[in-house]
């Protein structure tokens, strides 16, 4: 009985159709119920799927289902088909689970917005697309979900379309994503013309025989796919859209731009790990981009004052971690961090949402402070999340992040430099996250009276999801406790069948993992300890700067003003893109239109017409109306013709 997977994406689709087609005809509670129920239903199915998979033997944990043929064109044959295996199982659980919580949260958060129907329709559509993405059994269907989520993020970012900035951000997100999709498309083309199919199992099976390992072609494929990933998962150079995406409603940021959609890139690389393992160059690139993004975003995060933007950059940074993991061929670690990150980052955003909710839609942390006593639950849950992301031992973030760091250091694709970068980033993360916490919840209350008067803890519908997520952010990591603590890495073990040796080569616990680049367990412990220490230091610094001696913060800001402005302005990357790409493009277009089109081409057409008219005017003058001149013309003709005859 494995033919019910299609229900997972179907339910949200139904929800979307109901809410979408009957837009404005349904009462608010009905809409809420439809929306949440549909997602919950697919969550249930997802759980069932999960357990069915567990029931199967590890090697046979694949459930495939083909609905119908989508595009049949010669030997190009693509089905609407779904595939559930451990990897997608993890994803659907995260998507539906976290998704459901966020739906619930939204019912309260959007309770005052007139466009709630539209909102939930979009949200369901998003869930549908995301599930299609993770369940697709071929690249093209994945691409469908891939673009689908892009569309939804466009719609949801621009949800408050009357705000110029919002619609701008939406457009930006979509177009930047398109650039990524462009790479994805080309990747697919190569795969198809090489393998003759886009079906995942087929491709993965055929890849080793079709492609030369380390060859240019496979590298091209991986890199092109990775371009897609950078677009979707906001990596350098295409990360610019994510911060702006914060224009959308906060739950949207939580769901799309933290927990699920942005991780699609990671998922896709994990899904195609077979290909990536065949091209160490591609892996190298992925790792470098990942590390660079992680560090850069973290630095920017230091200087942001908008609470959501801080979280946004932290998201970018965390995604960088995941790519770093993939880049060092430790896809398991990547996916693991993906999951934990989904928990705590969703929590953080929702918390931020509740804060903004309470602050009557103010987002600037400089106007906050001391909120802990007004929003106790929010405060506590967010604190947990912060600890988790900072990597305090025992919480989910710790395990996932440290696995990544360790792999970056130890894996044969890894390199100490990666570790160093990751290590530094960990410190930065801890610092800016605690900066956020202190600025928001501690210290004197900087908000104006009016806002202060309205401060209140959010309703149950919002706090309950917070608490659930808090729990998850704590325990979420325990499924992946590394071997050194003498337990099997359940998570790695679970994903093993999907990974072509990637996670598998050191999966079995009792194997002493000297294989990991020849480093011992001792090393791993040391590094772990080091990072913990660094994190604690960072937290202390944040405490001193933003709690104890705020003057220091300002002092340092003065001292490093140059650097500070650079960070505040996000390295001026938006500006650079605008100056280097957008502006010239517009210029060229105008030139093409006004000059090439109007002047050259039409010029030639109308010009030749004009020449005819002119010659017509000229010739008319010959027609003087004097009969004798006609006779002259006549005689000229006679002379010529007679001469011609007589001569030849």
């Amino acid at each position: 009985m494995s033919d019910y997977i299609f229900l997972i994406p179907l339910f949200p689709l139904i929800g979307f159709l109901i809410n979408g087609l009957l837009l404005g005809k349904l009462s608010r509670p009905v809409v809420n119920v439809v929306a949440c129920a549909s997602v919950f239903a697919s969550f249930v199915v997802a759980v069932m799927t999960f357990f069915e998979l567990t029931s199967l033997p590890a090697t046979a944990r694949v459930i495939e289902q083909t609905l119908f043929t989508w595009i049949p064109s010669g030997n190009f044959h693509v089905n609407i088909g779904f595939l559930a295996d451990p990897l997608s199982a993890v994803m659907i659980l995260v998507v539906t689970g976290v998704g459901f919580l966020i739906h619930v949260y939204s019912t309260a958060y959007m309770s005052h917005d007139p466009g709630f129907g539209r909102y939930f329709a979009y949200l369901n559509l998003f869930t549908f697309s995301m599930l299609t993405l993770v369940l697709a059994d071929n690249f093209l269907l994945m691409f469908v979900g891939w673009e689908g989520v892009g569309l939804c993020s466009y719609l949801l970012i621009g949800f408050w379309f009357e705000k110029q900035s919002a619609s701008d951000a939406g457009k930006k997100a979509f177009i930047v994503n398109r650039i990524g999709d462009f790479g994805f498309l080309l990747g697919m083309f190569i795969i198809f013309w090489q393998v003759g199919s886009l079906h995942f199992p087929t491709v993965m099976a055929a890849a080793p025989t079709v492609f030369v390992a380390g060859g240019g072609l496979i590298t091209a494929v991986c890199l092109l796919l990775f371009v897609g990933a950078t677009g979707k998962s906001a990596q350098i150079p295409l990360f610019v859209w994510l911060p702006d995406a914060m224009e959308g409603p906060t739950p949207v940021s939580a769901l799309i731009h933290a927990a699920t959609m942005v991780t699609a890139g990671v998922y896709m690389i994990a899904r195609t790990n077979v290909l990536y393992l065949m091209s160490s160059d591609a892996l190298m690139v992925v790792a470098i981009i990942g590390a660079a993004t992680a560090f850069m975003a973290a630095t920017i995060g230091l200087a942001q004052n908008d609470i959501k933007r801080v979280l946004a950059y932290s998201t970018v940074s965390q995604l960088g971690y995941m790519f770093l993991a993939c880049g060092v061929a430790s896809f398991t670690a990547g996916v693991f961090h993906l999951m934990t990150h989904a928990f705590f980052k969703a929590l953080l955003f929702l918390g931020a949402g509740s804060v903004i909710h309470a602050m009557s839609n103010k987002q600037d942390m400089r106007e906050m402070g001391g909120l802990s006593k007004y929003l106790p639950i929010t405060y506590r849950t967010m604190l947990i999340a912060t600890l988790a992301i900072a990597g305090i031992p025992g919480l989910s973030g710790f395990f996932s992040k440290d696995e990544i760091l360790w792999k970056a250091f130890s894996s044969e694709h890894g390199h100490p430099i990666f570790w160093v970068v990751g290590f530094a980033t960990a410190g930065l993360t801890a610092f800016y996250m605690f900066r956020l916490v202190y600025l928001t919840f501690h210290g004197n209350e900087r908000m104006d009276e009016h806002t202060k008067h309205h401060l209140h803890e959010s309703p149950k519908a919002m706090t309950v999801p917070l608490m659930v997520l808090a729990v998850l952010s704590i325990v979420g990591g325990w499924v992946g406790i590394p071997h050194i603590f003498g337990v099997t890495n359940q998570f790695e073990h679970w994903l093993e069948p999907v990974m072509a040796g990637g996670g598998g080569h050191e999966a079995v616990s009792d194997v002493v993992h000297t294989s990991a680049g020849g480093y011992g367990a001792g090393m791993e412990i040391t590094l772990m300890a080091a990072s913990v220490v660094l994190v604690l230091v960072a937290i202390y610094l944040a405490f001193t700067f933003y709690r104890k001696r705020t003057d220091l913060a300002t002092a340092w800001r003065e001292r490093l003003s140059g650097l500070h402005t650079l960070l505040v302005n996000k390295y001026y990357i938006d500006e650079i893109y605008h100056a280097v790409i957008v502006r010239p493009l517009i210029g060229i277009s105008v030139f093409l239109w006004k000059f090439v089109d109007v002047m050259v081409i039409d010029g030639i057409a109308n010009g030749s017409a004009f020449v005819y008219q002119l010659s017509s005017e000229g010739l008319r003058k010959v027609q003087t109306g004097r009969v004798r001149s006609y006779a002259t013309a006549f005689v000229v003709g006679v002379v010529v013709i007679v001469a011609y005859f007589v001569a030849g």
Partner: protein, 202 residues
């Protein structure tokens, strides 16, 4: 140099002279007279060529009838070349006219001379085969006209009829016009050149 030649040269010169004078005259009457002169000279050439009858006809009909018609018209219109024809066309224009006209003459002459030099040509260098008796006589012309050229001869009748009808239709004064009812309304009086006339006309 036989008498023949002398006559030929003389009449040829006269013919050409008359023609030339005709076109350079300002007074039409004079040019008509010059044309008559030229025609008479041509008639002489006809006769030299053994076409006595046609020569006579040329003088009688052409000089006698057609050109008189010209004179008649000239008198009718009372033209004495007094009208100032204004400046003619510009010098360049004139030049081209003359150049091409002359070119044309040269061509014709060349054609004739080419025929002249061609050995195998039927048009013999000399005056051709001796004229068969009665060549160009009235009888023979008549025979031809009423046998072989009967049809064209009849056609000339049609032609002349058409010409007469046409000439009348055009030249006739308006007063006694036949015209249908609406027709009457359309034209009033017969001083056509006057602008109001044009208006009614237009």
């Amino acid at each position: 140099m036989s008498l023949d030649t002398v006559i030929f040269i003389f009449s040829a010169v006269v013919a050409v002279f008359g023609a030339t004078m005709m076109i350079v005259q300002r007074n039409p009457v004079a040019s008509v007279l010059y044309l008559i002169l030229s025609l008479v000279a041509q008639a002489v050439l006809y006769i030299q060529l053994g076409s006595v009858f046609m020569g006579a006809i040329l003088v009688v009909v052409y000089a006698g009838a057609i050109l008189v018609l010209f004179l008649f018209v000239i008198m009718l219109l009372n033209l004495r070349g007094t009208e100032d024809l204004g400046r003619g066309s510009g010098p360049l224009n004139q030049l081209t006219k003359y150049v091409f006209a002359v070119l044309f003459v040269v061509e014709l002459v060349f054609v004739v001379r080419a025929g002249f030099f061609a050995e195998t040509i039927a048009v013999s260098v000399l005056t051709g085969p001796p004229a068969t008796d009665g060549f160009g006589s009235v009888e023979n012309v008549a025979k031809l006209l009423f046998t072989r050229y009967l049809y064209p001869f009849e056609l000339t009748a049609v032609l002349l009829l058409a010409a007469v009808v046409g000439a009348v239709a055009i030249a006739k004064r308006e007063r006694e016009d036949f015209a249908t009812e609406e027709g009457e309304a359309a034209h009033s009086g017969d001083k056509p050149a006057s602008p109001p006339m044009e208006k009614v006309e237009g």
